[in-house]
């Protein structure tokens, strides 16, 4: 359960979020809204990358800005650009890097990493230089590296923005099959078919919060 209680945020003088009250228990939640509306800022609060300047955020009752370590163990985060998420030279090593913290012996780490890559369609790429993968494969690799830590919640900030249509679909299908609770920030509205709840943000406020169809209707009306 992710809770925002009267959350506000400002960068210096600039107020970017005000009065956000949300309790997110659904398995598939999306944040949509115009550029600069505050979606990323809100999403980053879930794992403590940004601390609210007023109000508070709770993840399973834990405060990300105080109990960051416990929260980050529960919350995985996928960013837009896979190139800055992949920290090791080969795909297998990058996933193994996540497992390093689980204190597994080296051989077991490599085996687990290879198994995880295979499960998500990157079988045989364990020894492949990560920077030579396609954009779509890189993003799947970034996802694998996060899932290796076995989080309960997955926050994805525009994970499909750099992907072509086929890879967008494939990535969202992968997300659809996960047991994790997923919070997806996106501009790709046609990918939200299977979602339980869509939160529309505008000018730092929640302006609609509903099932995909009515919420997106509201969002489209806002734009036109």
């Amino acid at each position: 359960m992710i809770e925002f209680e009267d959350v506000g945020h400002s960068y210096g003088e600039r107020v970017v979020l005000t009065g956000v009250d949300l309790r997110l228990a659904e398995r598939r939640v999306a944040f949509v809204g115009a550029n600069g509306s505050g979606k990323s800022t809100l999403a980053r609060m879930i794992n403590g990358l940004v601390a609210p300047t007023s109000g508070r955020v709770l993840v399973d009752g834990l405060d990300p800005s105080r109990q960051g370590r416990e929260v980050r163990r529960r919350v995985g985060f996928v960013f837009t650009n896979p190139d800055s998420q992949i920290v090791m030279p080969t795909a297998g090593e990058d996933v193994a890097f996540s497992l390093r913290r689980a204190g597994l012996p080296r051989r077991e780490r490599a085996e687990r990493a290879a198994a995880l890559l295979a499960e998500y369609g990157l079988g045989g790429y364990a020894d492949h230089p990560a920077h030579q993968l396609s954009g779509g494969q890189k993003q799947v690799l970034a996802l694998c590296a996060v899932l290796a830590l076995d989080p309960a919640v997955l926050v994805c900030d525009e994970p499909t923005t750099l992907l072509d249509l086929r890879n967008k679909r494939r990535f969202v299908e992968l997300l659809g099959g996960l047991e994790q609770q997923v919070v997806l920030v996106t501009h790709d509205l046609d990918l939200l078919g299977g979602f339980d709840r869509v939160v529309v943000i505008d000018g730092g406020r929640v302006v609609a919060d509903d099932e995909p169809e009515p919420a997106l209707r509201h969002y489209r009306a806002l734009v036109t």
């Binding site: 190139d83 800055s84 998420q85 920290v87 030279p89 080296r106 230089p129 996060v146």
Partner: protein, 201 residues
């Protein structure tokens, strides 16, 4: 040095040798190369390194890549040293550079970074009681090696973009986007590491 100068999967004896041992051997070789002055000896070491590439069964494509960048560098060093110190000295310096860099490249081609990191951690473990965090230093080594690849990729892209705009000679057309992108990369990398729980101890 070369972008893409990274691990090449394989099963040769050099691939299977422990990373710590290989690293120690590389250090000894580098020290020897800088102590030796005889072109004959240095030439022999270069030949031995070339032979080692054969033992490691490094694909020709990779060998060619290493050879190409070393040739450019060696030519540059040779001309410079010839001008400054004369031909004999220039040859010695060239052979040193070629031997050391070729060996270092062979190390990165045959060794997984994960193994290097583990070896560094293992080697530094005794320092733990003095407050050194071997896992941190291991991560630092891994990220440094990875940063070299990231920076050369950014440099290549920025140079390409500058060329596309016909600004290949302009220093600012390279330096400004290179700096901006490097800083942004550093920011994003830091965030991604924090999100993966690195720094939480």
């Amino acid at each position: 040095m070369t972008p893409g100068g990274w691990y090449e999967p394989g099963s040769s004896p050099l691939h299977r040798a422990p990373a710590g041992g290989k690293f120690a051997a590389l250090l000894v070789l580098a020290a020897a190369v800088f102590a030796l002055r005889s072109p004959a000896w240095l030439g022999a070491i270069c030949a031995a390194v070339v032979l080692a590439y054969g033992v490691a069964r490094v694909p020709l494509r990779r060998c060619a890549g290493v050879a190409r960048s070393l040739a450019v560098l060696a030519a540059f060093v040779f001309v410079l040293q010839w001008w400054l110190l004369g031909a004999g000295q220039a040859l010695v310096v060239c052979l040193r550079v070629v031997a050391a860099l070729a060996a270092a490249n062979l190390f990165t081609i045959t060794t997984r970074i994960d193994d290097v990191v583990s070896a560094v951690e293992g080697g530094l473990a005794p320092l733990r009681r003095f407050g050194v965090r071997p896992d941190r230093i291991g991560l630092l080594v891994g990220l440094t090696l990875r940063a070299v690849a990231a920076l050369s990729a950014i440099a290549a892209e920025v140079r390409e973009a500058a060329r596309a705009r016909g600004a290949q000679r302009s220093v600012t057309a390279f330096a400004v986007p290179f700096l901006v992108r490097t800083l942004r990369h550093a920011d994003e990398l830091g965030e991604a590491l924090a999100a993966r729980g690195e720094g939480d101890g």
